[in-house]
Amino acid sequence: MALIHVPRPSPKAMNPNRPVSSLLLTQVEHLQHAERRLPLRYRTEIYTHAIKTEAEAAAYIDQVTKAIHEAHADAAGRRAQRPKPKGGRKTRGAAERPKRKLRKKVSTPRKKKTPHKK
C-alpha cells in the first residue's frame, strides 16, 4: 500500500496566549485539589485565579504534576531508608509461628493479711 501523506499543522496553530478553555481550567482546579494535599515544601506559589492563558495553565500543570511525582518518590525513598526492625518484618502464617513456651503456672497462695496489731 502506498505511503499516505499526513499534512502537518500550520505554524499558526500554536498559540500559547489563547484564552484558557474550561477544560484546562478544570484540570487546573483538580491539580490544585491535589496540590493542597502535598506537604508544604512541594507546593507551588502560583495563584491559580490569575491564570488566563494556555501558557499560564501549562506552567501550573507542569509544576504540580512534577511535584506530585517528586513527593511520592521522596516518600518511597524515605520508606526504603527506614531501618528495618531486627529480624525483619516478616509476617508468618499462624501455622509457622513458633509456639510460645507455656509457662507453668505456679500458684502461690496469697499471704493472708495479718491484721495490724493495735
Binding site: 500559547p16 478544570t26 484540570q27 485539589h33 494556555e54 511525582h69
Partner: protein, 408 residues
Amino acid sequence: MPTGLDKLQHIVVLMMENRSFDHMLGSLKAADNRIDGVTDQLNNPDTTGALVKPQPLAQFQGQLDPDPDHHFPAVDLQIFGGSKAPDRQPDMQGFVKSYFNQRGDVAHSQKIMYYFKQADLPVLTTLALEFAVFNRWFASIPGPTICNRAFAHYGTSFGRVDMSPFDVIEPIKSIYTRLINSNPKRTAKVYYYDTTSSTMEVVNLLQNQPELFGTHQQFLSDCDKGLLPDYCFLEPNYNDHETDSGEQVANDQHPDHDVQAGELFIAEVYMRIKRNPKLWASTALLIVYDEHGGIYDHVVPPACPPDNFTASANNTGTGMEFKFDRLGVRVPAILVSPWIPKNTVENRVFDHASIPGTVTKFFLGDFAARSPREVNADVFIEPQASPRADRNLLSLDTMRTDCPEFDV
C-alpha cells in the same frame, strides 16, 4: 479460534477530545453506504426557524470559537430540542439553538452542523475504512469530559454528570488497579503526553498512584523495546506549550485546537505500534473520542440500563434528575489490528464503559465489583473462551500485510 485472538497481548486505547461522529467521519457515508454518516435529509432548525443542513465546510481551527457548550443542560437541549415534557422524545434537533445561545449570532450558530471532507482527515478516515469503524459508539453520559473519561477508567462516574472531582466509591476500582492487583499480575499504564499536559484523571489516579503514569516519549520507547503493558490508555497533549525540544502544539482536537495536529498524533501512535512487527501482531488499538463537544450528530443516543447512582435535578441543571439511563452523543471510534478484515463496519452499541468491560473480561475474566453500566456494556474484544467468540472483530486466520502506512 481466530489466530488474531490467540496472539493478542496488548490493548491500547487512545482517547481524543470533543468531536462527534458526523463531524469527523460523516463524510464516509459517500464512500461506504454501510457507514451511518451524513445524508442530504438531515437538518437542524436555527433560531429563525430556517432548516440548516450539515455541510462539508469544517475547518481545522478557528471555526468553533467559542468552544461549543457540552455541559449537561446544553447537551439535553441538543438531544431533546428544548422539550421538557415528561413524555419527550430525543430528536437531535437542538444543536444550532444550543450554539446560538453562546454568541447570539445566527450565521455563526450554523457552523455547528459542519463536517470534514474525507480528504481533510487522511489518517482517521483511512483507519476507519481499513479496519473496524463503529456505527454506534456513544459517549457514556450526555455531558462533558471528566465524567465521560471516568467511565473509561472505572466503568462509572460515581453519580457525577459534570467536571467536578469525583470520589471513587468502593468496591469499584479503576481498570488499572484491577489489573496490577490481579493474580497472575497484569500490567497497566496511563501515558499522558508530558508533565506540562498531564492527565485528566488527576484527583484519584495521579494523586494516589502516580507510578501508573508514563509520558508519550516513554510510550514510543516502550513500543520500540517491546515493553508495552498489557493495557494502556493514551492521553493527547491538552495545551500549547514550549519544551526543551521545541513547540508542542495541542493535539487533543478539542475546539479550538488544531485538528491536523491530532491527525499527526494518531498517525504517530499507529505507526509506532506498526513498526515493531511483534507488537503489531499482538496489539489492538482503539481510537475513540471522549464526547461530542457540542457538535452535531444525527443518531439518537439510546436508553440503557441505569447505573446505581442518580444525579439530582440540581446537579444536572435541567430541573430533572438523571439516572444514567441514557447514553451521550455518538463519537468516532475505530478498532485497529492486522487481524481485522478490511472495511469492517460494526453496528452493535458501545460506550466508554465498554473499555474497562472489555479489558477486564479479556485479561481477568469474571470480576464481580463492577458498576451496572459496565456489566451491561458490550465488549469489543471477546475472550477466547467466550461463547460469543465467533463475533470477534479480530476474525482473520492470517495476518494482513496490506495495512496502510503514514509518513510520520
